[in-house]
């Protein structure tokens, strides 16, 4: 399969729940209360508990590694969190080929909330075999 600029990656839709946030808090060791304590989250002006940025990064990591498989190696992965996301709403992970330079491919990746807002933006650099 030829890799060309503009091609989209197969999208990945995740369905985060409060249960998953607690599971992730434990697995990462990030016990900041905004991810599991509704009252605390509201006390710091959030609408309620929110997804860990790094959980959204992990979703986007899966988007990239599912697409890449064993065809190459992930060299760099960068995400910037532009908005908050709450559980019990689908989180849509998308990407497209931004640049091809020999064996090096740069992907533009992003995560969208149900309103189509890109709340996480990023890039991944891979080296194809």
């Amino acid at each position: 399969m030829t890799i060309q600029v503009g091609q989209e990656l197969p999208e990945l839709i995740k369905h985060p729940t409060t249960r998953q946030l607690v599971q992730y808090a434990g697995a990462q060791g990030d016990f900041y209360e905004i991810h599991y304590d509704q009252a605390f989250a509201k006390s710091v002006a959030l609408p309620g508990v929110i997804l860990h940025g790094l959980l959204k990064a992990a979703f986007l990591g899966q988007l990239v590694t599912d697409w890449l498989g064993d065809r190459g190696t992930l060299k760099a992965f960068e995400v910037s969190y532009r908005g908050i996301d709450v559980p019990d709403k689908p989180y849509r992970c998308r990407g497209r080929i931004a640049k091809v330079d020999g064996d090096q491919v740069v992907l533009e990746i992003w995560g969208e909330d149900p309103d189509g807002q890109r709340t996480t933006l990023g890039t991944a650099t891979v080296e194809m075999n």
Partner: protein, 139 residues
């Protein structure tokens, strides 16, 4: 105002100084709990760490409690990972962080304090496997 200024100054004085190192072994059980938590069923992750696992391996202690004098909450602004070698079950990884930059910005809802921390992850053979640049925000 003077408190906020002094927090920024105290953190800026630490730019470039390495924090304490912490080491941990990549355990199959921890890796399994992590990939279950992120919901990634790729069988590759039974032996190898997925892209963001290093943040879960060992907490990088930068003693930034003093930053809590600024604003009322933490936000994660972004993360940049560079990968040099795969991280596998059984690897012993030492993480060392350093404050790379500290600056303030005035946003629509008030002042924000940006703290950039860079962390190097080195394996049991002394080879750097990955580097992470994280942007943490106090607001």
């Amino acid at each position: 105002m003077s408190t906020a200024t002094s927090v920024v100054e105290r953190l800026r004085a630490r730019i470039g100084q390495p924090g304490p190192s912490s080491a941990a072994t990549v355990e199959a059980g921890h890796l399994k709990r992590f990939v279950e938590a992120i919901g990634d069923p790729n069988p590759r992750w039974t032996k190898e760490a997925p892209p963001t696992f290093l943040v879960a391996l060992t907490p990088v202690s930068m003693h930034m409690a003093e930053a809590e004098e600024y604003g009322k909450g933490w936000l994660n602004g972004g993360n940049r990972f560079e990968y040099f070698e795969p991280v596998k079950v059984g690897d012993r990884i030492t993480a060392t962080g350093r404050i790379a930059d500290v600056y303030e910005k005035t946003g629509g809802s008030g002042n924000l304090l940006f703290i950039i921390v860079e962390t190097d992850y080195v394996n049991q053979d002394g080879r750097t496997v990955a580097r992470l640049r994280g942007t943490t925000i106090r607001r």
